[in-house]
């Protein structure tokens, strides 16, 4: 190890509260405090809080910022209203296919700057932050747009679960509590939480209702501790990256480097919704890699992303071969993520397989360390919260 690990403003709290600290994308992060299963179930049944400050937080502003982002992202940006959040891919036109997927990201339009310029935020993966920033900088016009990396001067907390909104809004003024409670999914607002300014969005990576908060780095610990105290009696757990991974797996959410890679066909991995090829009036959009992506959609890849639920608890890990039943030689796909899934009570996985074997309910085998383990093709997400909880 030549580079020291980066630390979030909450690193000391994690260490002193039993966090098992690991290197994740160059950051010293807690994988769990006590039990991944307990943290996972707390998030499903009450609430869990995650330090996700390792995620990259970028700010884009200036009079031309909306048009500039519109020209670079696979989703539309020009039509985003203030307080709207959208999932997008970040692509470049590099590589043999003429399109390289640099990352997946959330783009949000924040309140306009005092001079009336629009302001946007981008949340990108920790592992891709430097590459995305370098790519965006290389495309910056000389005037009209400014790009800043706010990752180190801010922190990001995810509070997730059926009680998440109730817990956080306990710490807000009546007006801010009402504004947060009224947020629809993928909407955001500015609010004071525990008397500290926060960008609050109704987003998350767990399949639960919940909020993500961006606060100043210096406010991270007081806000975290206030939320822990407010949630203690309601079953709030601090959760590590281990539970974050099992929760997002059950929720069928992609993880860059697993379901989605630099050379993925986004349509084959179930992310066609993140590619908007035409503007509202039907005219073709232009962004890096748009033409090769148009061809990919016209000539569908024979593979598709599916869920697999196993008969047992033994987990298939990434790159395990998926085969026809009792035909270890007939490889039909590959596992992209897999784990024991606490809500399901069995092992589950996401896999990319030939469309011909992707029929719901069909049995497939997955080779786990030379043993064929039986699994059933299951639609994603593998877990869906009750609609009444939203």
């Amino acid at each position: 190890m030549t580079t020291p690990l980066l630390e979030t403003p909450l690193c000391a709290w994690h260490s002193t509260h039993g966090g098992r600290m690991v290197d994740f994308a160059g950051w010293r992060m807690p994988v769990q405090y006590d039990s991944i299963v307990a943290e996972h179930l707390a998030t499903r049944q009450a609430a869990g809080m995650f330090d996700v400050s390792h995620m990259g937080r970028l700010g884009v502003t200036g009079p031309e910022s909306g048009g500039w982002l519109e020209s670079l992202l696979t989703r539309r940006v020009a039509d985003l209203g203030v307080g709207q959040v959208r999932y997008t891919l970040v692509t470049s036109d590099e590589g043999p296919r003429g399109v390289t997927i640099l990352d997946d990201a959330l783009v949000a339009r924040e309140a306009d700057a005092p001079d009336g310029s629009p302001r946007f935020s981008l949340v990108v993966n920790a592992s891709n932050r430097e590459r995305v920033v370098a790519w965006l900088r290389s495309r910056l016009p000389t005037v009209g747009v400014s790009l800043a990396d706010h990752t180190f001067e801010t922190a990001m907390l995810a509070v997730q679960g059926p009680l998440a909104v109730a817990i956080v809004t306990q710490l807000c003024s009546a007006a801010d509590a009402a504004a947060i409670a009224a947020l629809r999914s993928y909407r955001a607002t500015a609010a004071a939480v525990a008397s500290r300014p926060a960008a609050v969005s109704r987003t998350g990576y767990t399949g639960e209702d919940g909020l993500e908060l961006v606060v100043a780095a210096a406010d991270a610990l007081p806000v975290w501790e206030a939320i822990m105290a407010a949630g203690a009696a309601r079953g709030l757990h601090a959760c590590g990256l281990g539970a974050r991974d099992t929760l997002r797996l059950e929720a069928g959410m992609p993880l860059y480097g697993h379901e989605l890679t630099a050379d993925s066909d986004p349509f084959a991995v179930g992310l066609g919704f993140a590619i908007t090829l035409n503007a509202a009036d039907g005219t073709p959009r232009s962004f890096p890699g748009a033409e090769p992506l148009r061809r990919m959609r016209a000539e569908p890849d024979p593979r598709v992303r599916i869920g697999l639920v196993f008969d047992g608890k033994r987990a298939a890990r990434e790159s395990a071969a998926v085969t026809r039943v009792a035909r270890p030689d007939a490889v039909v796909g590959v596992v992209t993520s897999g784990s024991f899934c606490p809500t399901l009570g069995s092992a589950a996985a996401m896999a990319v397989v030939d469309r011909a074997v992707a029929e719901e309910g069909g049995p497939l085998d997955v080779m786990i360390r030379d043993t064929a383990c039986r699994a059933t093709v299951t639609p994603l997400p593998l877990y869906r919260r009750l609609a009444s909880q939203t």
Partner: protein, 128 residues
């Protein structure tokens, strides 16, 4: 921890039983470090193993770990109830949570492993 236990650096324990056999398990420290156990695969009875050879795997939510034969010999019995009751490993790691019984090739080999005090200092020197 009883005084008749010996430990491998890879966190297995072994206890000579006086009938020419020895019982093997994994230490309380290892079970605690793994957490969230979901799956275990035990070796087949009759298998001849060398000291340090993987004789099975134990899987937690986060990772798969091998466990190893602390001495050379033959596997003569496995704890068949254990894979369906993994909580036993945490509740009674040196008793009901045993993994296999082995017939050592050399009855003296276990004596060369760590005693409880030496294993304890090994564990304490590891980051947790």
């Amino acid at each position: 921890m009883a005084a008749d236990l010996r430990f491998a650096k890879t966190h297995e324990w072994i206890r000579p039983e006086g009938d020419g056999l020895a019982t093997v398990g994994i230490s309380a420290y290892a079970v605690e470090a793994l957490t969230d156990l979901v799956f275990m695969q035990l070796p087949e009875v009759g298998r001849k193993v060398k000291a340090g050879e993987s004789i099975g795997e134990i899987e937690s939510v986060k990772a798969v770990s091998d466990f190893y034969a602390p001495v050379s010999g033959e596997i003569v019995e496995v704890n068949q109830a254990l894979p369906n009751a993994l909580e036993t490993l945490g509740q009674d790691p040196y008793g009901a949570g045993w993994l296999v019984r082995i017939r050592p090739d050399d009855a003296a080999e276990a004596a060369g492993l760590l005693d409880a005090a030496a294993y304890d200092s090994l564990v304490k020197s590891q980051p947790h």
